[in-house]
């Protein structure tokens, strides 16, 4: 049925600039969204919502955030979790200390408060490059983690230092159930991703890639390097901040500073490596991969080799597998699952002509 798409020519640049040029793609998208809002909530179980879909959505958003910075603007960062932490704790405090503040505004403010932090730790990127920048982002990682552990005010002086989700209410509608949290998360993540997509296909996105590929040339054709880099840090940490708030409140429900540790940063980096640097779709693929693989592994093993492989060994196995995949992708497919997906589609277009493009 793929060759139905033949004969669809863009007759205007407007048409050509659509995210989904083909009506099949657009239809598929509409169906997908419809399903996400109707069938899934109707059929889904608590497990599906709170153990798979919500983390998947949140991690996808976080992936987008990091991808703008690393995949598009070429600034390597290991501090993603720190910016997420800022978002989470800021949201918590805004909602706590400004009673009556609408929930969504709380999330928005949380994201915004991550921006200055991102800028501060992004400043060194103007002078240093490549993995030297790791130092700056790692500094962020450790400092922020320490700060939130250290200053009890951030956790409303609770002796445990743990912050827990406020009531998720929008216009008197409660979202605290797994199903509700899922719908809420979905409705926050999707528009943000759309914005990100618009950015990367617009002038700013091209400037980012230009800076990534060769910043001297970028400067020569009049791209303001400083501004472009800092914008990358700002927007990236904004998205990460909101992702952090979602992580804390629609996914886990409660979180402590160490919940945003280096491992989370790594996870997000892996999402974009596996999913595909410089791709928006890739973040979803990568997130799905990183959420599902461990679950499938453990289920498969306990189902079929439950006796002779014990839970612990499985975890090690999975660690090894992850590592290998990272390396394999870096070697074989630096553009990640997204690229594979596109090649697949290209094949499908060509079908039945197997040697198309």
């Amino acid at each position: 049925m793929f060759y139905l798409e033949s004969g669809q020519f863009s007759t205007s640049y407007r048409q050509d600039q659509r995210i989904f040029r083909l009506w099949q793609a657009r239809l598929a998208l509409v169906l997908l969204l419809a399903a996400a809002y109707t069938v899934v909530p109707w059929l889904g179980s608590d497990y599906l919502f709170s153990a798979i879909l919500i983390p998947f959505l949140v991690l996808s958003l976080a992936g987008v955030g990091l991808n703008l910075l690393t995949g598009y603007a070429g600034q390597l960062s290991l501090g993603s979790a720190a910016f997420m932490a800022v978002g989470a704790f800021a949201t918590y405090n805004f909602l706590l200390r400004l009673p009556g503040l609408p929930l969504l505004d709380g999330f928005l403010l949380g994201g915004l408060s991550a921006v200055p932090v991102g800028l501060v730790f992004g400043l060194p990127s103007l002078r240093i490059k490549g993995f030297y920048l790791l130092v700056s982002t790692l500094a962020a990682q450790f400092f922020i983690e320490w700060l939130f552990t250290q200053v009890p005010w951030f956790a409303n002086n609770s002796s445990s230092g743990v912050i827990s989700a406020p009531a998720l209410v929008i216009l008197g509608h409660h979202f605290n159930t797994p199903r509700g949290s899922y719908l809420l998360t979905l409705s926050i993540v999707l528009p943000l991703v759309l914005l990100a997509k618009n950015l990367v296909r617009g002038q700013l996105g091209r400037n980012w890639m230009a800076v990534r590929d060769m910043d001297t040339a970028a400067a020569v054709i009049g791209i303001p390097i400083t501004r472009t880099k800092l914008l990358a840090f700002a927007i990236s940490s904004f998205l990460l901040g909101i992702a952090g708030a979602l992580w804390a409140f629609t996914y886990l429900g409660t979180v402590e500073p160490h919940g945003f540790d280096l491992n989370l940063s790594f996870q997000i980096l892996f999402i974009i490596i596996i999913g595909g640097m410089g791709s928006i779709l890739g973040n979803f693929l990568g997130a799905a991969f990183i959420v599902l693989l461990p679950i499938l592994l453990s289920i498969i093993s306990s189902a079929w080799l439950g006796d002779w492989i014990q839970a612990g060994q499985l975890e090690n196995l999975q660690k090894i597998l992850f590592g290998c995949l990272i390396i394999v992708f870096l070697i074989k497919e630096p553009e990640g699952l997204a690229k594979l997906w596109n090649t697949l589609r290209a094949r499908a277009h060509g079908w039945p002509l197997s040697y198309w493009n």
């Binding site: 407007r14 618009n198 002038q203 091209r206 230009a210 590929d213 927007i235």
Partner: protein
């Protein structure tokens, strides 16, 4: 050559050195609006360095550059770009990870005035401008006949085409002054011919002033209205092709006899 009534570009007493090593010594010349000026000279004569001075990649220790009447000692690359100076590089400086179209579109960056917020929301000027940029980019792509590769990653294109794409990116900025660093290096006669055609057409159709570096004397003489000859960072001749051709110093420099 006598002073031009109203030069677009004037260099005066430019001297540049790296860690004490002199690259350019007291060079000055003028380029008239709308002319094609060629910089020639043996390797290491300081030609590329001079281009880098003109668009602010290097800061000269002495001398000043005046462009369109505006005099400045220190110019930042992006400022130069703003004033309408575009250039290509000796060893191609394209954005390898991006498609031909996107590369050309980056050339439009200074013509885009919508804020990133507008771009994100696709509101206000953003969408309309995006389309306008696209139209112009397509015009340039057509002009340089690289439509077939519109959506190819430049990294995958052959050398000759990459040179063309780089020219396209420069033209997309609608420059008043175009600096070309060996636009035909490593090309065969056929390609060189095409490239020269593009340069001439650019000069005629858009009235773009061109300063180019080229080794192939034949091409240079055919192409340019005005030739400046450098040797060991000094200017040894400056004039019309014919004047330069019979300049004894030039001959020695090129025949390489000691002096």
């Amino acid at each position: 050559m006598t002073s031009i009534p109203r030069p677009l570009l004037r260099l005066e007493h430019i001297s540049l050195s790296f860690k004490g090593v002199k690259a350019i010594t007291d060079i000055g010349f003028e380029v008239a609006e709308g002319e094609i000026c060629a910089l020639i000279g043996p390797n290491g004569a300081g030609k590329s360095a001079l281009l880098n001075v003109i668009n602010g990649v290097y800061q000269p220790q002495q001398g000043q550059v005046s462009f369109d009447g505006e005099v400045r000692r220190h110019m930042q690359p992006h400022h130069a770009a703003r004033r309408g100076i575009a250039r290509t590089f000796q060893n191609i400086a394209l954005f390898k990870g991006m498609s031909v179209l996107d590369n050309v579109l980056t050339g439009r960056t200074l013509k885009t005035h919508s804020s990133w917020i507008e771009q994100a929301l696709r509101i206000g000027r953003a969408a309309a401008q995006e389309t306008r940029q696209r139209e112009y980019a397509e015009k340039v792509i057509e002009f340089l006949r690289i439509q077939p590769w519109r959506n190819t990653l430049v990294g995958q294109l052959p050398y000759g085409l990459q040179k063309r794409v780089e020219l396209a990116r420069a033209l997309a900025a609608e420059p008043r002054l175009l600096l070309l660093d060996e636009p035909m290096a490593g090309m065969n006669q056929q390609e060189k011919h095409e490239m020269s055609q593009f340069i001439l057409d650019t000069n005629r159709e858009f009235g773009t002033t061109v300063v180019l570096i080229e080794h192939d004397i034949g091409v240079v003489m055919g192409l340019s209205h005005h030739v400046v000859v450098l040797d060991y960072g000094k200017k040894i001749a400056d004039g019309s092709p014919d004047e330069v051709r019979c300049n004894p110093e030039v001959i020695t420099a090129y025949l390489g006899t000691k002096h």
